[in-house]
Point group: D2
Chain length 378, copies 4
Amino acid sequence: MKAQRVDMFVCPSATPSDVSGLQKLADEGKIKPETLVALVGKTEGTGAHDDWGRIWADAALREWTARFLGVPKDEVAKHVIFVLSGGCPGVITPHIAAVTREFVDVPDGGDREKRLVVGRAGSEAIGPEEVGRMGMIRKVAAATHEAMKDAGLTDPKDVHLVMVKVPGLTVASIRDAESRGETVVSHDLTFGPEGAGVYANDAAALGVAMALGEVPESKLSDDVVRRDWDLFSEVAMTSSGGEKRHGEVVVFGNSTASASALRIGHSVTHDFIDAEGVRAALRSAGLQFDGDGLPDQDDLRRLVHVFAKSVIPGNDHVRGNRITLLDDVHAYEIGKALGGMLVASVTGRTTNYVSGGERNSHQGPPDGNIVAAVVRAD
Amino acid sequence: MKAQRVDMFVCPSATPSDVSGLQKLADEGKIKPETLVALVGKTEGTGAHDDWGRIWADAALREWTARFLGVPKDEVAKHVIFVLSGGCPGVITPHIAAVTREFVDVPDGGDREKRLVVGRAGSEAIGPEEVGRMGMIRKVAAATHEAMKDAGLTDPKDVHLVMVKVPGLTVASIRDAESRGETVVSHDLTFGPEGAGVYANDAAALGVAMALGEVPESKLSDDVVRRDWDLFSEVAMTSSGGEKRHGEVVVFGNSTASASALRIGHSVTHDFIDAEGVRAALRSAGLQFDGDGLPDQDDLRRLVHVFAKSVIPGNDHVRGNRITLLDDVHAYEIGKALGGMLVASVTGRTTNYVSGGERNSHQGPPDGNIVAAVVRAD
Amino acid sequence: MKAQRVDMFVCPSATPSDVSGLQKLADEGKIKPETLVALVGKTEGTGAHDDWGRIWADAALREWTARFLGVPKDEVAKHVIFVLSGGCPGVITPHIAAVTREFVDVPDGGDREKRLVVGRAGSEAIGPEEVGRMGMIRKVAAATHEAMKDAGLTDPKDVHLVMVKVPGLTVASIRDAESRGETVVSHDLTFGPEGAGVYANDAAALGVAMALGEVPESKLSDDVVRRDWDLFSEVAMTSSGGEKRHGEVVVFGNSTASASALRIGHSVTHDFIDAEGVRAALRSAGLQFDGDGLPDQDDLRRLVHVFAKSVIPGNDHVRGNRITLLDDVHAYEIGKALGGMLVASVTGRTTNYVSGGERNSHQGPPDGNIVAAVVRAD
Amino acid sequence: MKAQRVDMFVCPSATPSDVSGLQKLADEGKIKPETLVALVGKTEGTGAHDDWGRIWADAALREWTARFLGVPKDEVAKHVIFVLSGGCPGVITPHIAAVTREFVDVPDGGDREKRLVVGRAGSEAIGPEEVGRMGMIRKVAAATHEAMKDAGLTDPKDVHLVMVKVPGLTVASIRDAESRGETVVSHDLTFGPEGAGVYANDAAALGVAMALGEVPESKLSDDVVRRDWDLFSEVAMTSSGGEKRHGEVVVFGNSTASASALRIGHSVTHDFIDAEGVRAALRSAGLQFDGDGLPDQDDLRRLVHVFAKSVIPGNDHVRGNRITLLDDVHAYEIGKALGGMLVASVTGRTTNYVSGGERNSHQGPPDGNIVAAVVRAD
């Protein structure tokens, strides 16, 4: 039978336009034009609107990938999904993780361990009037199902990470919607608490939650988005932006139809200082350290990568004591940095994918955050 | 024989001028005019030069203490030492720790466990030409010896935390020095890497190191301050500023001549993500959790307080990977926030005293930081 | 007949709690308990949520005023209106302007020049469901009419500055409204573009515009607030906040029933770099410099004070060229600083009252801002 | 006889990598490979160390220029001087000014008006031990003389703008110097008040001042750099950085041996709010508006470009009143933004070259700044 063999390579970046790590992987034959399916990374810079580091990185990576694949630059997106998250405050090392997938023959039957698989899908076009609302939720849910199918996954319990990119709103798309007599979820184009960007991110997260049965469709409506925080996904990491018209979904999970050396797992933190939640993600991926204990250096050598969110809690108390983060003008940057520290203090390394900084989300439980880990099984 | 009984009470602050926690302690008889020896706290705000939170807190606390002691406001400093560190970014709860000391009779001899003692001393006047140089180092060393004596400590190994405040430079004091034909260590009045403030802090730290034998006097000279980072103290937390002319030293240690219920210990982190260094400090203070393991909730209930520095490392690599913190315009605030997270992720609480944000220091080893912990022994 | 005699004294502040300038005015008899009607000032600090400078200033000024008036602190607000605007970035000197009013006998009739008068009024209680909506607009309009009456003004053309403070929304007041089945204008408690604070400020501005006939009531509805920027006041400077339940309105204008030595005028800038708009305000107040020219030092000596807004334009072009301010994470602080520079470059001094930094407003025309000036007539 | 014909074209940039304006100039034949001598611009971004906008702009412009000239990328610097200043806070439009020069035949003799000329020169290699000291001062002075010669200028009074780029210090170059037993001016690699970068900038400015006779060589020594602020140039705009080993100098002035349609002039502001200083620069370049008056739209149409510094004053008073800029953590960005506003409020446009933000400089008088203007004469 055919099985996926998925691999993941983490390359630190010396500058936003540094493609030397990818080139080395290509030179060594570790990534090939036909196997490269995704580039997921953190780019250096402030992570703010005027952070050109991310945009430069995107341009440079897209140019390199076009050359590598032998396709025009504007066709790269058809072959390789880019998830670049800007801002590396604190102890987050700028890096790119290359994800490869190939299909190999494996003997039928037997008692195969579940291993890493990956699947991708695009959604139907999402109109501006659907952004942050049920329209987006349903289309992301449908695309999540398709991406699961592409990954060969049927049981939602086997899904450990769903990365989603969806369209946000722009001045132009709002004008378009309103000229057709439609309304939009927000006129606020910032990532503030009522901003269109966070509505889009959160509808996308609820779409994943619906697809995976984490939230029953009956509980979902336009009104719950960014209102009912008890509805959330434990595996959705979402972003929105630009002039995109379609959503893109990448699903990571474990399957017996996999010949990968890697395994993925996930957990959540229950509040902003919950290092145990990070350790639980590592254990979920199969790092075998004692239940109450700590991973040792040998364990951590098997850890390939961690993906974590660092959404700022919506309330200003942590375990009963007040913090001042919500009033901090630099909360966005500091919130992200804190997540980076929480993860790094457990993994013993700084090349972790940590995105976030926004306030409140349906990505992960109230006050907590999602952590997924990929581990070398063998 | 007479023994010290030292206690420590941590009061979260609702605003910079909140004295209700102290008032409650006073009402309950836990702190008395004759027992209060120090107020050590974190005040909310940016921690930057234009952070009025710390200055308002100082004014409000000084006013309250004057009333409490029944002395004029400008005499408060003779009775109670104030150490207020501005800036609570991230997961640092604004709080004030009140330290009390009284002398009680205990039976002579016997095999008493070492317990918490505290001692204080002022230094000789420190001239502007001595700031950041051997003059300051020697005077702080002398004052440290006196404070040890006041604490009843003779063995430097029993000293676990030395908080020092020294004069910095000002436009006026530089003019004074230069009018007398003297030079000063820096004309930079910022806390930048060549700023007078960090020179003062670091000379004070080396003074403690000299007093405790951590650095032999023979290795010390004007030229090593902020140059030879291999010289450092593991227990000195220092600050400088304003128009002070004398240094102030508070020593915390353990002694058999103590009837305290508390014990202090310390350790250092070896780099910016070293949670194990924080755990080592807790163990040093007597929290008994398994060598490789984690403190459980019962253990942590015995933890009274943690004092930690979060100095930014001088190089831009952590365990072999590059971080971008040194180029971050908000490095000062983020660096402090990261230390707060590192400590809180271990202690499971946010009311930790964490100061820092400056780059490089003789407070703690290169790339690492000092952590001291106070634990209820009984 | 009775006429108002209004005076205005600008005191630079050395620190947020500095009341020495006011004390000196009191000692010299320039302000008296029975004549002091308002304290309007800029307080130093970041102007952000965690700026304790403004809060400390408010506490210190309220304490001083209570002593000065001989009333309890919580009754100060009945006698003296406080308008403290936080944040003095760039070339804005922290200062307090004391406004006094007394009634004096003047000969009836004659051909009196119009001179400065001031009037105050409180609004009816404004419920949380009214914030940012027609309820608030109507109540502020009514209070503006009352304040005009208190000032002895009947013709809206004689009104040159209306300072308004209104309730904003809080977590508690939103809960209150929703528990009664009402909705609120926004759940965003920030000052972002869809924040409750800016909705409150802007409804208050439209209330003034309605009272003065700048906008006909027929054009006003809930839907135009922060949507139809062609509706605006040229004289309203508004703020919102805290747990207030009533609006407060202070009207400044010129009247023949005035024995003041001062006169007020106003104008607007047409874009962010329009120094001519500032000069027009000075001319409006009666500074006589040549139509196309510049005020000279003698002219400027007669200038008592300038009040200006510095709202950030909603579009990213100034006279055809793109600026990047809207994407700047420090836009709030920089926007305010730029207004301070524009005014100071014309007035030749830095003690100008300049508030703003928020994006878009019904205070002043699209892309432009309000400037009012008070000039010594004699 | 041969005369220079110099032209200058200002292209707003839509993004850091936008070269469309230059391409259009090339397509129209306004710039040619053999006439392009300098690209001087402002790039969008924070202007801070982690601002990738400037670096991306440099990469994109260098790539375009290499293609345009038909030379390898690393030879571009031999043909075209790049002066890119990062950070466009407030009302500074990101833009690139292209400077062209060609030599044309003009009739000998006659009474030619002085018009714009430009000259360039590289300095001798400047060692790290010379940075910020007399070695650098002398080498920049020599290169300034050479650049004047290249421009055909002999009288310093005809020089109105000297742009200089010099080597700064790096970790590597400091190590190099110290390994040879030499000392360096500072170990502080920031742009703080004792930073190597500002020492380099200021020595370069004094080098220009020495070459032009603004400061006699007898007054210059290592000790006056960043100490004696009474020594300064009124025309030097300098920057430093990277791994450069040589200085680069571009001189702009007016000469009768010029067939240019443009003329340059300069002046200085006397403090941070001195709009009159900006107007004086415009008049110096030949914009004819009334001595006390304002340029009108027709005048301003003849204005081609303004180059201005916005160095933050070293003292915290402006015309007798305190400002808080020096304590502002965002002083660098705000200081630059304020200069942008001061210039734009006079020129009525936002495409001005304004660099600065650092504190104190030998570029311009104490508290004031340099402003140069280029005007179309015909």
